[in-house]
């Protein structure tokens, strides 16, 4: 019995030590965002500012175009969510509900596309969008999302497969066509999977760096990722603002995590276990 409690003590000690390692960087990010330049470049470094400057955040929003970046990011993320959710749920329903010749092979192709490095398609896509005159607009970030996302289709299809056939058969007897079955039977039953899918799309788009880097070239259209990166190259020592911007960019995700913790954890675990 005694040995067991000793074991438990070790486990907790290890877990706490690990947790500290994971938390300290967050703390450093936040404390830096409130520091004056004197505190930032103090030697030895100080953990907490001698004078707490909330005005750093005010500066981000008024003197620097952070509000603009945020609105741009919200717009792109919103449109991406709309595009991916709309198209992916329709396609996933197609994969799950219908008998289509070659469906298995198509679904396998879908899974393979998940593994293709974006670098392989990046250059021809750029050339294509450039020819359309879309470079420098939000269109290259938004339009492709209306053609479905492989991960969302996969996730939703797996969930749609668990919807009992009897439900759609009953709806069919009542005279419902495929669209009605999709809208009135499948979608309402699949709220958890839809939520998981939306959550992941939100995070990917909110944090995406490579695509905005390639396609956005006007300061007024930058998303938070690019805005922050540009700030870090134009004002290399503006650490309070850079950390403040990082806090602002991270905050919505953390809030979302606490609101939808279950959806989050289950989504990640389902993705990992089922495939």
């Amino acid at each position: 019995m005694k040995k067991k409690t000793l074991n438990k003590v070790w486990i907790y000690l290890l877990l706490i030590a690990g947790a500290v390692f994971f938390i300290i960087p967050f703390f450093w990010m936040f404390s830096t965002s409130l520091k004056s330049y004197d505190d930032v470049f103090a030697f030895p470094p100080v953990w907490w500012p001698s004078e707490v400057l909330w005005s750093n955040y005010a500066e981000l929003l008024t003197e620097l175009p952070f509000l603009r970046y945020t609105l741009n990011t919200v717009f792109v993320t919103g449109m991406t969510l709309l595009g991916f959710m709309l198209s992916s749920s329709i396609v996933a329903f197609g994969f799950s509900y219908f008998r289509i010749p070659g469906k298995k092979i198509l679904f396998r192709i879908l899974l393979v596309t998940l593994m293709i490095p974006p670098q392989v398609t990046m250059i021809p896509q750029f050339v294509l969008f450039n020819r359309l005159g879309w470079v420098g607009t939000f269109l290259p970030l938004i339009v492709p999302t209306f053609f479905g996302g492989a991960f969302s289709i996969f996730l939703l299809k797996q969930f749609f497969d668990t919807v009992p056939r009897e439900y759609s058969d009953a709806a069919k007897l009542d005279g419902a066509n495929e669209w009605r079955i999709f809208l009135k039977v499948y979608l309402p039953l699949s709220k958890p999977a839809l939520a998981t899918s939306a959550l992941f799309i939100f995070i990917w788009t909110w944090t995406d760096f490579l695509n905005p880097l390639i396609y956005l070239n006007d300061d007024r259209m930058y998303t938070l990722s690019i805005g922050l990166q540009q700030l870090s190259t134009s004002r290399t020592t503006a650490w309070p603002q850079l950390m403040g911007g990082s806090v602002l960019m991270t905050l919505p995700i953390i809030v979302l995590f606490f609101l939808a913790q279950k959806t989050f954890i289950q989504g990640i675990q389902v993705g990992g276990i089922k495939s």
């Binding site: 690990g18 103090a42 197609g94 398609t121 750029f126 053609f147 960019m249 675990q269 276990i273």
Partner: protein, 286 residues
Amino acid sequence: MGLLFLSPWLIGLVVFTAYPIIASLYFSFTYYSGLSSPRWAGLDNYVQLFRDSLFWKSIYNTLYLAIIGIPLAQILSILVALLLNTKVKFLAIFRTLYFLPSIVPAVATALLWKWFLNPQFGPVNLLLERIGLPTPGWLTDPLWSKPALIFTSIWGVGGAMVIYLAGLQNIPSELYEAAELDGAGRIAAFTKITLPMLSPVILFNVVMGIINSFQSFTSVFIMTAGGPENSTLVYALSIYRNGFQFYKMGYASAMAWILLVMTSVAIFFVFKFFGKYGYFGGADKS
């Protein structure tokens, strides 16, 4: 009728995936700036690549980060998952703390760690100095820049940890009870039950690790821009530079295709390895 529902994806597959893959293969055999039309180059891009010392350097750097980073991330996340799977109190709190860093935006993570590892004004070297350890230059030192990137990626290991935790919770406890009855020790239970039962999950995480690590771009772009002395010039960064900064899009396409082949080969061998040593006989029909 069913095809109508699939059509958005089918069109997207052709326009945004299949055509670009074939086009980039074609570009890889051309001189192409992206502005004027491509000129046939035969194998020239590939020949040049094999003579390009930066190409080999970027492969070396990428493999270094993958070969050290991926196993390290798996070991650490399995370890934390094992600790969390011992019926500890506050499980949800610990899980949250370990998981949160993995959802911080890559740009924020990169800036944070660049500042966190600052040799002069960051807390890491402050702590190292206090306990009498050497204080390396981290991202400013070619010897330490890659380990610094690995530390940064370890901070985001929570996603894999959560998946391992679910995998552990899926192992039927009867197996352990039976092993205990047979007099098996803890180490035997781990190597004979836990690891084999966990192998499909390990496979998934390793494959994801390979994909992510071969494509890793954002952290390096922001933290070091490939420096110092090209010690962090990773493959994806090199592609971006050639394509979008030097406008050598044919050259960059050749690199992209080599990346596709490298990724496929690596994943193929990982599957082979797990097929030989892993356990995939469970009742789980997926």
